[in-house]
Amino acid sequence: MGVEPRSRDLSADPDDLARLYVAMLRIRLFEDAVLRLFLANEVEGTTHLCQGQEAVAVGVCAALEPGDTVAATYRGHGAALALGVDATALMAELLGRETGTNGGRGGSMNVTDLERGLIGCFGIVGGSIAAATGAALAAQLTRDGSVAVAFFGDGAVNQAYFHECLNFAAVRRLPVVYVCENNLYGEWTPMASVTAGADIAARGAAYALPAQAVDGNDVLAVREAASAALARARNGEGPTLLEFLTYRHKGHSKVDPGAYRPPEEVEEWLGRDPLLRLAAQLGDDAVEQAHEDAEGELERLLDAARAAAFPTPGAPATATKGAAA
């Protein structure tokens, strides 16, 4: 897989590290709550937690500039929160409330917040890739200087959207960064068993794209790789494919037989928890403070989200903006 070991930047600014830690922690705790609510049947349907992968969302989003666009997946809580989507509105969406990001219409697999740059969370594998490619096309034509980022999983690299969009973006030199979160499984199927070559970053070469495999549990490494790719895109040098190696701590979604992952593997990856790793670099005080803050915020947002009303069924709604004319 070729993850490049990198030396940590020990001179890193402690405030910076603390901010990154808090950003990851907010996601971790938010999803703890989502799981509780899901088990209590308050979050209905299904849920896809990104716990264990927080460093990818946080590292990439930390490198973005205002005006950039992000397309995420059904496993999108991390990206949404890292991007600054209001946590209360996000939780309200998962709870199907009218104050949700999508007024409760979308649910977790369609979270959208255009103001924050989130063009959507896409429930169709590969959908995020097309959306980001399109946003980059708009950015290129309007020369607004923005870049688009697509998040997707290892499973998506075998899908039509991946191939056609990467080729298209490469040919057009679109300002887009393709961020693959390789968590080793697509649902319950091991990546290597369905991915010829089992080397995702290597697929960039097919499109003559720069590509890199990076430790996705090292938030600083993630940010650094994303920054470089974003800079390339912003400079008109075209797309980059980034593969972040990571692992999800929980199952794929609500239905998950679980047993498909060797316990030693889970164990090993739990040891590489991106939060633990960053915590080790922060002082205990900072970590404690972060937890206190994040837990307080969580409590408040849960109260607010759960207090919100469900959308009124009778309310007028249209599938189109304006009538045909």
Binding site: E44, G45, T46, G96, R97, E98, G100, N102, G103, G104, R105, G106, G107, S108, M109, N110, G123, I124, V125, G126, G155, A156, N158, Q159, A160, G186, E187, W188, T189, S193, V194, T195, V255, P257, Y260, F310, P311, T312, P313, G314, A317, T318, A319
Partner: protein, 320 residues
């Protein structure tokens, strides 16, 4: 005859056909572990990884490959996890598989089955809840199957696997847990292309499929208390339409209500009404469907969007 769930009936049907005919094989995502709807558990360990294949997330490839394999004599059964993903394989089904028999001047047929979980009500949002019948209603050569009971889930699936032409089987995800008596082996076979009368009546014909059949029956029970005798027809096969059964019923009842979990146009509802009137003459008719909107996530909105027994009853009353 054993009482099993719809889900088990699907599994049993697959197991029996895999056992019976070594040309039968399964392709799908995560199916070795049973798949997301646990409809295929144990099949890979029984029939081996060459006949029960976990695929990449490449719906177009494995459905397209299933088409080619079917031409060459296999009888592949493809699982497209959610019906909402069928849009990705339209080209294969429409431009290749369904046309092959006719276009090759009958050199070979394409015994390909695509199973897919469909339907709303599970709070899965707009892209995991559709019943995309409309994608395929206009495709000559394609058969669309839509069971409403465990027995039909098994019987129609087995018939589909034995049929020499491409079939799409819609399995409504809210039905997977339903229980019912289901025969074994050949006794389980349910013919394709034939509707069945689930409840007899003389005042109105209510046509439905999949979960909507339950709503129609519930509505008929309510209406019976008002002395309206509704006949409930379960289409079982959406395409080709068993117009004979519908027309015969409507000839007796003089009124037609079609219940469809889907938007008003493009699905089977309009087709049933058009066929009934073309073949049987003018008659009052109504569609009971979902609104012309994407399927919402929030429970309040989704519940209101779904067709209901009371909406069916109201439509019947409006025609009376």
């Amino acid at each position: 005859m054993r009482e099993v769930t719809f889900r088990e009936a699907v599994r049993d049907g697959l197991a029996e056909e895999l056992e019976r005919d070594e040309r039968v094989m399964l392709l799908g995502e995560d199916i070795s572990l049973g798949g997301v709807f646990n409809a295929t558990p144990g099949l890979q360990s029984t029939f081996g990884p060459d006949r029960v294949i976990d695929t990449p997330i490449s719906e177009l490839a494995f459905t397209g490959a299933a088409f080619g394999a079917a031409v060459k004599g296999l009888r592949p059964v493809v699982e497209i996890m959610f019906g909402d993903f069928l849009g990705l394989v339209v080209d294969t089904l429409v431009n290749q598989a369904s046309k092959y028999w006719y276009l090759t001047n009958e050199q070979a047929s394409v015994p390909l089955v695509v199973r897919s979980a469909v339907g709303a009500g599970a709070r899965l949002g707009a892209c995991h809840s559709q019943i995309p019948t409309s994608l395929f209603m206009g495709e000559p050569g394609l058969t669309l199957v839509a069971p409403s009971t465990p027995a039909d889930a098994k019987g129609l699936l087995k018939s589909a696997i034995r049929y020499d032409n491409p079939v799409v089987v819609f399995e409504h995800k809210l039905l997977y847990g339903r229980k019912g008596d289901v025969p074994d082996g050949d006794d389980a076979l349910v013919p394709l292309g034939r509707a069945t009368v689930r409840r007899s009546g003389t005042d109105v014909t209510v046509v439905a499929a999949m979960r909507a059949v339950e709503l129609a029956i519930e509505a008929a029970e309510t209406l019976a208390e008002e002395s309206i005798a509704a006949e409930v027809i379960d289409l079982r096969t959406l395409r080709p339409l068993d117009a004979t059964t519908v027309v015969e019923s409507v000839a007796r009842t003089g009124r037609l209500v079609v219940v469809e979990e889907g938007p008003p146009s493009g699905g089977y509802a309009a087709d049933v009404i058009a066929a009934a009137i073309e073949l049987g003459g003018p008659v009052a008719a109504r569609r009971v469907t979902m609104p012309d909107l994407p399927i919402p996530f929030a429970s309040t909105l989704e519940d209101a969007a779904l067709p209901s027994a009371s909406a069916v009853a109201a439509a019947v009353r409006a025609l009376s």
